[in-house]
Symmetry: C2
Subunit: 604 residues, 2 copies
């Protein structure tokens, strides 16, 4: 089925939860208005619904093909990418200096969500290109920026990230690709990279590979990695294309999902010459640091992919449940009803909606923090928002993507037997979603980052601050429940459950802080549950804030149906999903004993 | 990778948890011994490892094909099925009267688990045939039994269940296939059936379709459905094959998983004649009742498939984790280690093991109850075990299959990026598992059965009895913790968590009983969480019982490594999985408010 951008929920989130007004008031965004943002998002919706979404299923059934080093993408992808570039969508969040639109991340995030929901496999090409632009903007030389960024913004060239090698998956210390200096910042690269998304394709004239490699005298481990630009075609000083570089696509992977996205094995310097020509970015041995700029942006973007995939699966399941007639209602008049009337179908749809809308709200709140961290006039506010954004990136990435697997799986289940038939489409989301908790750092990697850098390193300060803010929302909920005539029970329920979930969050945080010295493995045995706990609580907090807004008579009058839905989603989430926080905390806080036993199982 | 039957865990479960001795003492099983059971299971392991497991991946990549009504199964399947039949495996649990081995379900269950773990898609053929044999044994005429059962036991013929029609999925009241009487118990059938597993194939000489259809004057709804035998080839009185019946395979489905299993659309009576020849089973209009005999056996069997799929995914993930070297250990000496050393990989593997081994123990305990319900000399014990088995069937089906989806998903995650590559094999389990919570009654259908028939109908009596038994185990754990020197902390943890989980189980039960009159939808909004709660608690109870056994010095001396593993699994399950029971209960008990809000979302 076709995709409809969830414009109403997006706008609600931007305005009421993610402080769009505050972001638009930041220096540099003076010329923007809410109306302009609306217009951009409307156009975005129109474009992705018409040009991108229809290629989702066909990209799945007709994947990109490889022949003699050349890759032909799925039918229609090349034309869609051209339209994407002409619409200016690649430049949405990038600097006007190089031809971008310079819009806030808070506007870029929903636009990106829609593109990804329309077609996850297609959207990976712009997603990776975004990362390359972001990295070069931050650490490239002026010459590199002016040579490589504008063609990427125009969609004539695309970009890739080359980290993984067969022997080194998540462990970048093992990167072995060699970079032999030829002088003047030029190097010859030799090695093999795997899992390179859109590493070869026919949608653009050139491909800008950002490659991690080691120079001959580099120190071992992650401190000896440098970053190089390796274009598919060499580029003359005037930007015109020169000869083909010695980087070859040896094969494409046969994957579980995202079939429309070609995943390449790339060979660098395999032609027996002086290697693939690469240009050093920044300084030698600082490659990992630079790559992290790109990776943080990409991790956030993959979190948004999780929201997007969830939304798509939710839309299809909701439509099916309201169309498929089967069985009798438990109560009321006899006769067949749509399956949306059955309580368990409601449970599944509300679980899907709660996870989707909660993850969306959290992602947008994070985007606003990113914008403020860059542009807020008050340095203290910049600092506070920077800490918040960095804290939220692994949560958004880890929680939204794990949630998307659950949502897509429920989407299959809502369809019953039809869900298992490929033509229905629900199975594709289940397959596509499965990559999201893996690439750009597995959930475990996100959890390591979360516990190590975002909790322990600052002594739990950010977490304690958030707990206090969430408690304030609990108080608001209690007050609103007392004052409300229509929604007293619902608001009270949300307040009660959020309160308990915040307690769980505090318990997990205190456990991590207390045991980080004595038993780090005991802490890390619960690091993913802790990350999931944080996601569950923070998403639930945003849904609680949404419920407060939607219980206001003035808001209800404007959008009664929307408010009814949001309240139902928020109440359901509080009842059925927030309690997972306590379940996680109970596991985490048994970490010392559980770890002692778990350690005995290694090697079997 | 290849499959190894988990013989040690199977034996442990049979002896220490599922009362093998008690089952072997039942009337009719006098000639069996533990040694004989061991020999059967050893031979079963050898057979499935060598003959069935190697076809798992090839069946996935080379599915059955359809051409002009004929179906050719995946390479090797026909020969494997012949070997299966010659080994006598089809007759394992069936009556000696017709040529079966007459073994207890408690022996049949692990044998069936191994066959399914070796190759889920292959095993569906014997699984459905089992159901047909069981149904005809129970309700077929002597003539039907002697004509149709022996060839199925010999593997010359196979069987299918034909329930689903396009307009009627789970709702059998909508079945519309017509059966026009021709006299003397013979009918002409007209209609279309979908999702018919092994509805057409080339592995046997004939196929015995059991078909639900309506006679011309039948009442509406489920009380007007009759059951018919419709053989692919008509059968003469001496059992020789006659002409081809008018049942045609119109197409095969293109599915997410179990590619090796042909899923057929069957047309009955489409050749313009007097319909497909069918023979009435039992009496008219009692078809649903008869089909339930088959369905209960099939539901239990699908629950065992969940265990099997989980075991297979677990074995592959464990092997990979102990082979793949990546990253440094958190503590101890520097240098690369296998990923099994990383705490989060331990968490994933222990979650997989806990769910797999807990579900296995529960399934075997249910099998023993089934055997005792049929053969126990004391009628009161028969009755008690019958109630227990009937209570456990939806739990085994619902919990084991939902767990298998989680286990298979974790199995992909353990492999990181490699898990998303089809050649690795982990992705196949993720795809295959997804059908298990759907076919033979979705999880929601199991939950309806559980809450409606197994809780409310007996006033919660079975549940209260189980709660009391579980509390007794809690007391044993507390006593054992006080007495133990080595495992005091682990046993105490298990006791503490089991106690809390039993409380949650009681809360959910009381909520269902209390609200079944006033607000049935509020109860059914939480019916699947309640079923999952029951599964989590009962599986955890079995793992707690296993921990008690494994903490005994006499048992430890005999199998120290096994005991260490089982204790670690049980402790981990208690810490990280049992708390889900409380999370479920919290959602369930908010049902009244949550349902009031949920009901407002229908139709959007």
């Amino acid at each position: 089925m076709s995709y409809r951008a969830p414009i109403q929920d997006i706008r609600f989130n931007l305005r009421h939860l993610a402080d769009l007004q505050g972001v638009l008031a930041l220096p540099g965004f003076e010329e923007l208005s809410e109306d302009l943002v609306d217009a951009v998002l409307d156009e975005n919706a129109r474009f992705v619904e018409q040009a991108i979404a229809p290629l989702n299923r066909s990209g799945d059934t007709a994947p990109a093909t490889w022949s003699d080093g050349k890759v032909t993408t799925s039918p229609g992808f090349k034309e869609a990418f051209e339209a994407f570039a002409q619409g200016g969508w690649q430049g949405l969040q990038h600097d006007v200096e190089w031809g971008g639109q310079g819009l806030p991340k808070l506007v870029g995030a929903p636009a990106s969500e829609n593109i990804n929901a329309a077609n996850l496999a297609f959207s990976l090409c712009p997603l990776l290109t975004d990362g390359v632009i972001e990295a070069l903007t931050a650490v490239g030389s002026k010459a590199q920026q002016s040579l490589f960024i504008p063609p990427m913004l125009e969609g004539r060239w695309t970009g890739t990230m080359n980290l993984t090698e067969p022997q080194a998956g998540s462990d970048l210390a093992q990167v072995a690709t060699k970079a032999v200096p030829r002088g003047e910042g030029v190097y010859g690269l030799f090695g093999q990279k795997i899992f390179i998304t859109y590493g070869e394709h026919d949608m653009a004239e050139n491909i800008v590979h950002l490659v991690l490699a080691r120079t001959p005298d580099a120190p071992k481990g992650v401190k000896g990695i440098s970053l190089f630009i390796v274009p598919k075609f060499l580029v003359d000083a005037d930007g015109s294309l020169g000869e083909r570089n010695d980087v070859v696509c040896a094969s494409l992977e046969h994957k579980l999902g995202i079939h429309g996205s070609p995943t390449a094995v790339l060979m660098y310097g395999s032609n027996g010459g002086e290697g693939a020509t690469g240009y050093l970015v920044g300084e030698e041995n600082r490659g990992l640091e630079y790559m992290f700029i790109m990776m943080n942006a990409a991790r956030y973007a993959v979190g948004v992919q999780g929201v997007a995939l969830s939304e798509r699966a939710l839309q299809q399941a909701t439509a099916y449940a309201n169309e498929r007639v089967q069985g009798q209602a438990l109560e009321g008049s006899a006769g067949p009803v749509t399956i949306a009337h059955h309580p368990d179908v409601q449970r599944m749809l509300l679980t899907m909606r709660g996870l989707t809308e909660g993850a969306r709200a959290l992602a947008y709140v994070a985007a606003a923090a990113c914008d403020k961290s860059r542009r807020h006039p008050d340095p203290a506010e910049q600092e506070r928002n920077k800490a918040l954004y960095e804290y939220l990136v692994p949560v958004v990435k880890g929680f939204s993507t794990e949630a998307s697997v659950e949502v897509a799986s429920l989407g299959v289940q809502v369809h019953g037997g039809m869900g298992f038939i490929e033509e229905t489409g629900a199975a594709q989301y289940y397959r596509d979603a499965r990559i999201l908790p893996i690439y750009e750092g597995t959930t475990a990697i996100q959890a390591n980052d979360f516990v190590g850098r975002k909790i322990l390193r600052n002594g739990g300060q950010v977490a304690r601050h958030l707990a206090a803010e969430m408690r304030a929302t609990v108080s608001e909920l209690q007050a609103a429940a007392s004052a409300s005539t229509d929604h007293s029970d619902g608001l009270a329920l949300i307040g009660r459950r959020l309160d308990a979930a915040v307690t769980a969050y505090e318990q997990a945080t205190e456990f991590a802080l207390k045991n980080s010295q004595a038993s780090l493995p005991a802490v890390f045995l619960g690091s993913v549950p802790y990350l999931m706990l944080a996601g569950v609580v923070h998403a639930g907090w945003q849904l609680a804030r949404a419920a407060l807004v939607c219980s206001q008579p003035s808001v209800q009058q404007q959008a009664p149906e929307f408010c009814r839905q949001k309240l139902a989603t928020s109440v359901f989430y509080a009842a059925h999903i927030l309690p997972r926080a306590q379940a996680c905390a109970q596991g985490i806080t048994e970490g010392v004993v559980a770890n002692r036993y778990a350690a005995t199982t290694i090697g079997i």
